[in-house]
C-alpha cells in the first residue's frame, strides 16, 4: 500500500473533521476522493504530507503510513515526508521566480551542492517534458512563472515536484481554477503520470472522478462511506448516501 491510515482522527481546535478514518491507497493508481464540502476530503489529503500542521490548532490521532513508514512518528523529518509526498494545490501557486527556478526550487532546498548548469538544464527539460509543458515554455525559461496561464502554472506546479522523485502526488482540486479545456489537459496529464506515481486527487467534480481515476473514495461528515473501484462506485454504489450524492440529490 502506498498510503495507509489507521484510526485517523483530526480536530481543528474543538471541531472534529476526521473520525477514525481507515484508508488504503494502492500503489501506482489514481484514487479520487469525492464528497460534499466540509466532508474532510481535503483535510485527509493535507494530513498525508502533514501540511495541515501549518495551523497550530490542528490535533491528530492515529497513524498515517506512506510506503510502510509512519509519517506521524516522532523523529520523522517533515522534509523527508514532503520530498516523498508531493502536493498540488487548488489555486496554482507557482512562485514569483523564473520558470526554471520554480522547477529547481525543491532541489535547491534539499541538496547541499547546487546542480551544475547542464545538470540543471537537464532536470528542467525532463520535468517540463513529463508534464507536456516543454514545447510551450522552452524559449522563455527565464520569465517569471506567474505570467503563465493558469493551466501552464498548474502543470508547472506538478513539474516542480518531479525532480525530488516523489512517490505519491496529492492533488487538492487541481482543476477547480481552470477552464474546461485546461481541465481536460491537466486530467490527461494526471492519467499520463499514473503508474509511475501514486496519485490521490480530491475533486468536487464527479465526472472528473469518473473519467480520471482507478479507485474512488466517498466521504461524508469526516467518515469514509465507501471505497471501491471507480466504475463500480458509479454503477452500483453499495451505500444509499453514496448513491444519493452521485445522483446529485445533495452536495
Amino acid at each position: 500500500m502506498a498510503v495507509e491510515t489507521k484510526g485517523l482522527s483530526l480536530w481543528y481546535g474543538s471541531f472534529q473533521a476526521l473520525f477514525d478514518v481507515d484508508i488504503s491507497i494502492r500503489e501506482g493508481k489514481v484514487t479520487s476522493m469525492i464528497g460534499p464540502s466540509g466532508c474532510g476530503k481535503s483535510t485527509f489529503l493535507r494530513t498525508v504530507n502533514r501540511i495541515n500542521e501549518r495551523h497550530s490548532y490542528v490535533r491528530t490521532e492515529g497513524s498515517v503510513k506512506v510506503f510502510g513508514e509512519d509519517v506521524m512518528a516522532e523523529g520523522v523529518e517533515l522534509v523527508q515526508v514532503r520530498k516523498q509526498v508531493g502536493m498540488v494545490f487548488q489555486r496554482p501557486n507557482a512562485l514569483p521566480i523564473s520558470i526554471r527556478d520554480n522547477v529547481l526550487f525543491g532541489l535547491g532546498l534539499h541538496s547541499k551542492k547546487k546542480p551544475s548548469k547542464s545538470e540543471g538544464d537537464d532536470i528542467v527539460e525532463k520535468s517540463l517534458k513529463r508534464v507536456l509543458l516543454w514545447d510551450n515554455v522552452k524559449d522563455k525559461l527565464g520569465t517569471v512563472a506567474t505570467s503563465l496561464s493558469l493551466e501552464e502554472q498548474q502543470k508547472l506546479c506538478i513539474a516542480r515536484l518531479l525532480p525530488m522523485k516523489p512517490r505519491v502526488l496529492l492533488m487538492d482540486e487541481p482543476c477547480s481554477a481552470l477552464d474546461p479545456k485546461a481541465t481536460a489537459a491537466v486530467e490527461d496529464l494526471i492519467w499520463e503520470l499514473r503508474g509511475e506515481y501514486t496519485i490521490l486527487i480530491v475533486t468536487h467534480n464527479m465526472a472528473q472522478a469518473r473519467r480520471a481515476s482507478d479507485e474512488c473514495i466517498f466521504m461524508l461528515l469526516g467518515k469514509v462511506i465507501e471505497h471501491t473501484e471507480t466504475g463500480e462506485m458509479f454503477l452500483t454504489p453499495q451505500n444509499q448516501a453514496t448513491a444519493d450524492y452521485i445522483e446529485g440529490r445533495y452536495g
Partner: protein, 311 residues
C-alpha cells in the same frame, strides 16, 4: 396621462436634497483629492521663489557644494554646505545601519512568527514607539546617550554622529517595521504553503520566498527611513552637537542641513544672503528627497516583473 405626471414628479424629486448632498460631497472629496498636489506645488513654489533665483544667480555653486566652510555671518561670509551634507548623510547612514536590521527583523518576527496576543501587543507597541515626538528623542540623546557615550567610549563629547545615528535609527525603526510588516503580510500565503509543501523549513520559506517576494515593499520601507533621516530636524539638532565639521569618526560632532535651517532662519534678516542661502539648502534637501523617491520608484518598477500577476 396621469402616468406622465407621476414620472415628472419623480424626476423633480431626483434633484431634491439627496442630489445636492451628492454634489457637495463630490466637490469636497475632489478638493481633498487635489489638495495634496496643490500643497506640494505651493510649497515648492514658495521655496523656489525665496531661494532658487539666488541659487542660480549670485550663489557660488562650486563653493556651496564643495566647501566645508559654513560662516554665513562672518564679515567675509562662506556658504559651503559640504560639512552639513556630510553631517546629514553620516547620521542617516549610521541610523540606517541600525534601523534596517532591527526593523526587518522585527517585521519578520511580527509577521511570520508571533501569533495571537503577542502579535497584537507588539504591533500596538511599535506604533506607540512611532508616535513619540522627536523632541523627546532629542531629549534622550541629550540627557541619556550623551553621558553614556562619554563614559563608555571615554571621549570628551557625547553629542556626535554616534549619538544622533542611534537616536535617529530608533526613531526610524518603528515606521519602517510597520511598512515592512505590511509588505510581508502582502505576500500571498499560497507561496509559503507551496514552499512548505516542497519541504522548505521555516527559514527557507522566509529567505527564499517571503523576503524576495516582499522586496519591493521592503525597499520602500528602507527608503522611507532614509527620507525620515534626511528630513528629521529636532532630534538631530539636539544630538549631533551642532558643530560644523567634516567627521572622521563616529565620535565627531556634526551639523545637519535641517538643523542649520531650523536654528538660523529665525535670526536672519528677511531677504539677506544668509536668508536666501538657507532656502538654497532647503531646495537641496528637496532635490535629494526627490532623487531618493525617484530611485525608489524606478527600483519598484524594475522589480515589478518579480511580483505575480495574481498576487
Amino acid at each position: 396621462m396621469s402616468k406622465s405626471i407621476v414620472s415628472t414628479e419623480v424626476a423633480a424629486n431626483a434633484r431634491g436634497s439627496a442630489w445636492w448632498i451628492d454634489q457637495v460631497a463630490r466637490i469636497l472629496v475632489l478638493l481633498g483629492g487635489i489638495s495634496a498636489i496643490v500643497f506640494v506645488l505651493a510649497i515648492f513654489g514658495f521655496v523656489a521663489k525665496e531661494g532658487l533665483g539666488y541659487m542660480l544667480g549670485d550663489l557660488d555653486l562650486v563653493e556651496f557644494f564643495t566647501s566645508p566652510e559654513w560662516r554665513p555671518t562672518a564679515m567675509e561670509p562662506n556658504h559651503g554646505i559640504l560639512a552639513l551634507l556630510v553631517g546629514t548623510a553620516s547620521v542617516t547612514g549610521l541610523a540606517m545601519l541600525i534601523a534596517v536590521p532591527f526593523s526587518i527583523g522585527a517585521a519578520i518576527f511580527i509577521g511570520e512568527f508571533a501569533t495571537g496576543k503577542t502579535r497584537e501587543i507588539l504591533k500596538v507597541l511599535v506604533e506607540l514607539l512611532a508616535a513619540i515626538p522627536s523632541v523627546v528623542w532629542g531629549f534622550i540623546g541629550l540627557s541619556i546617550m550623551n553621558p553614556l557615550i562619554i563614559e563608555v567610549f571615554d571621549v570628551p563629547v557625547g553629542l556626535n554622529v554616534l549619538n544622533a545615528g542611534v537616536i535617529l535609527g530608533l526613531m526610524a525603526a518603528p515606521i519602517m517595521t510597520t511598512i515592512a510588516e505590511d509588505a510581508l503580510k502582502a505576500v500571498p500565503d499560497g507561496y509559503r504553503e507551496a514552499a512548505e509543501a516542497l519541504g522548505a523549513t521555516r527559514w527557507q520559506v522566509i529567505f527564499k520566498v517571503v523576503l524576495p517576494s516582499a522586496k519591493k515593499g521592503l525597499v520602500a520601507a528602507v527608503l522611507l527611513g532614509v527620507g525620515r533621516g534626511f528630513g528629521e530636524t529636532m532630534a538631530v539638532l539636539m544630538a549631533t552637537g551642532h558643530s560644523v565639521n567634516l567627521p572622521t569618526s563616529p565620535f565627531d560632532s556634526v551639523r545637519a542641513m535641517t538643523a542649520t535651517i531650523a536654528a538660523e532662519l529665525g535670526e536672519t534678516a528677511h531677504g539677506s544672503d544668509h536668508y536666501k542661502v538657507l532656502f538654497a539648502i532647503g531646495i537641496t534637501l528637496f532635490f535629494i528627497t526627490f532623487v531618493i523617491n525617484m530611485a525608489a520608484d524606478i527600483f519598484v518598477r524594475g522589480g515589478l516583473k518579480m511580483s505575480g500577476k495574481n498576487s
